[in-house]
């Protein structure tokens, strides 16, 4: 005895009518209605004449209905079920598009948030779907647009890497900064961030005193981007104290080569020497400004 209303008996709507209603809902961009109709169609007539077309339209409907996860799941399902379908490139394209949209979230449009410094997760997923589309179906009608979006994504990822590299320079982790720069040069070629990446590599290797690596980075940079204003890290960032005291106390030191010490005893000696040298100002401000 069912208490809450009998089992709702769905009338068997003929396949053709269901499909037409779904398509017209799409045209009127009532995407929620379209999604429901297409889901019903797929459930009632799984192998009907329209089943494949319905699955494709479903991805598009989810995408416009701001359900990115459902859209990419539907796309995956379509790719799995119909590997050799003629417009499977459309599925890959839609999958890439949903991830792309997801990345440029609400914030970027309305709030002053620099997206290139945020989580690149969605951008990576979008990049991968577009690249599968390009190498599997180079002549697909969606390839040019996908190509354009990939360039945007690559730049975004490269800028992100350079941001991180700059942080590590500030932190003094020079090998880490150099490797982040190298990641851009090796994997994200032809992006506007490449010269900055090379500059960071040059600065990091200079700080590490690895002159030949620094020179080769500088050479590649200046040969490809002759008018790049390349400065060492120290010139670029006068010491904090100088800015805090408007240039009165801290002079711009030349890049002091790191004290070379192979064994611990030498390290101790170097530390002692460095201790006396701490400037008087540095002491009274408890090293706050160093």
């Amino acid at each position: 005895c069912s208490w809450f209303g009998g089992d709702k008996e769905l009338p068997d709507i003929p396949e053709q009518q269901l499909y037409d209603e779904a398509i017209s809902a799409l045209e009127r961009s009532e995407y929620q209605v379209a999604v429901d109709k297409l889901q019903l169609l797929e459930a009632r007539y799984p192998f009907g004449r329209y089943s494949e077309q319905a699955q494709l339209e479903l991805i598009y409907a989810y995408h416009n209905n701001y359900e990115p996860d459902a859209a990419s799941a539907a796309a995956d399902r379509f790719i799995r079920l119909h590997p050799s379908h003629e417009n499977i490139d459309y599925a890959y394209y839609l999958k890439g598009l949903t991830a792309f949209e997801q990345d440029r979230t609400f914030f970027e449009k309305y709030l002053p948030i620099d997206i290139t410094q945020r989580d690149p997760g969605a951008a990576l997923a979008s990049f991968e779907s577009f690249s599968t589309l390009l190498n599997r179906y180079p002549d697909s009608q969606y390839a040019p647009d996908a190509q354009k979006r990939m360039v945007f994504l690559k730049n975004r990822l490269a800028t992100y890497e350079v941001h991180v590299a700059r942080y590590y320079m500030k932190r003094g982790a020079f090998v880490a900064a150099a490797n982040r720069g190298r990641f851009v040069v090796e994997n994200l070629k032809e992006t506007p961030a490449v010269p900055d990446a090379l500059a960071v590599m040059f600065q990091a290797y200079t700080e590490l005193g690895m002159t030949d690596l620094a020179n080769s980075a500088q050479e590649v940079l200046l040969s490809n981007y002759p008018d790049y204003d390349l400065k060492t890290y120290r010139q670029e960032n006068k010491s904090l104290m100088e800015t805090a005291t408007f240039g009165l106390l801290g002079g711009a030191e030349e890049p002091v080569p790191p004290t070379r010490a192979i064994n611990p005893k030498a390290a101790e000696a170097a530390k002692e020497k460095a201790k006396q040298e701490r400037s008087f100002f540095d002491k009274i401000t408890f090293g706050v400004f160093e």
Binding site: S216, T259, A261, A270, F286, G287
Partner: protein, 96 residues
């Protein structure tokens, strides 16, 4: 009041730890994978010159000056030939 606590700066270790006992086992003619087995994977790789591996170790303890030591290994047609840098492997010649 020089012992009043200054700003705490975390230590910054960077690069591969190089042990004398490992580099003394380096022999000319070794293959890259043998070198990698002994010394570990180099953290600094020269994108523009595959024939040289740089093992660099640098450590900045708090405010003390940064301590550093490095060892560059050069390969000739794929095999270890010579080295340069602060560490002196016993079995190899230094590059001129």
């Amino acid at each position: 009041c020089s012992d009043f606590p200054g700003v705490y700066k975390i230590d910054i270790p960077q690069g591969n730890i190089i042990s004398q006992e490992a580099i003394d086992q380096l022999q000319p003619g070794m293959t890259p994978s043998q070198v990698r087995y002994l010394m570990g994977t180099p953290l600094v790789v020269d994108t523009f010159n595959g024939q040289r591996w740089d093992y660099i170790y640098t450590f900045k303890k708090g405010w003390d000056a940064r301590v550093q030591g490095n060892l560059s290994l050069f390969f000739k047609d794929g095999l270890l030939s010579h080295y340069s840098g602060d560490y002196k492997p016993a079995g190899l010649q230094e590059a001129q």
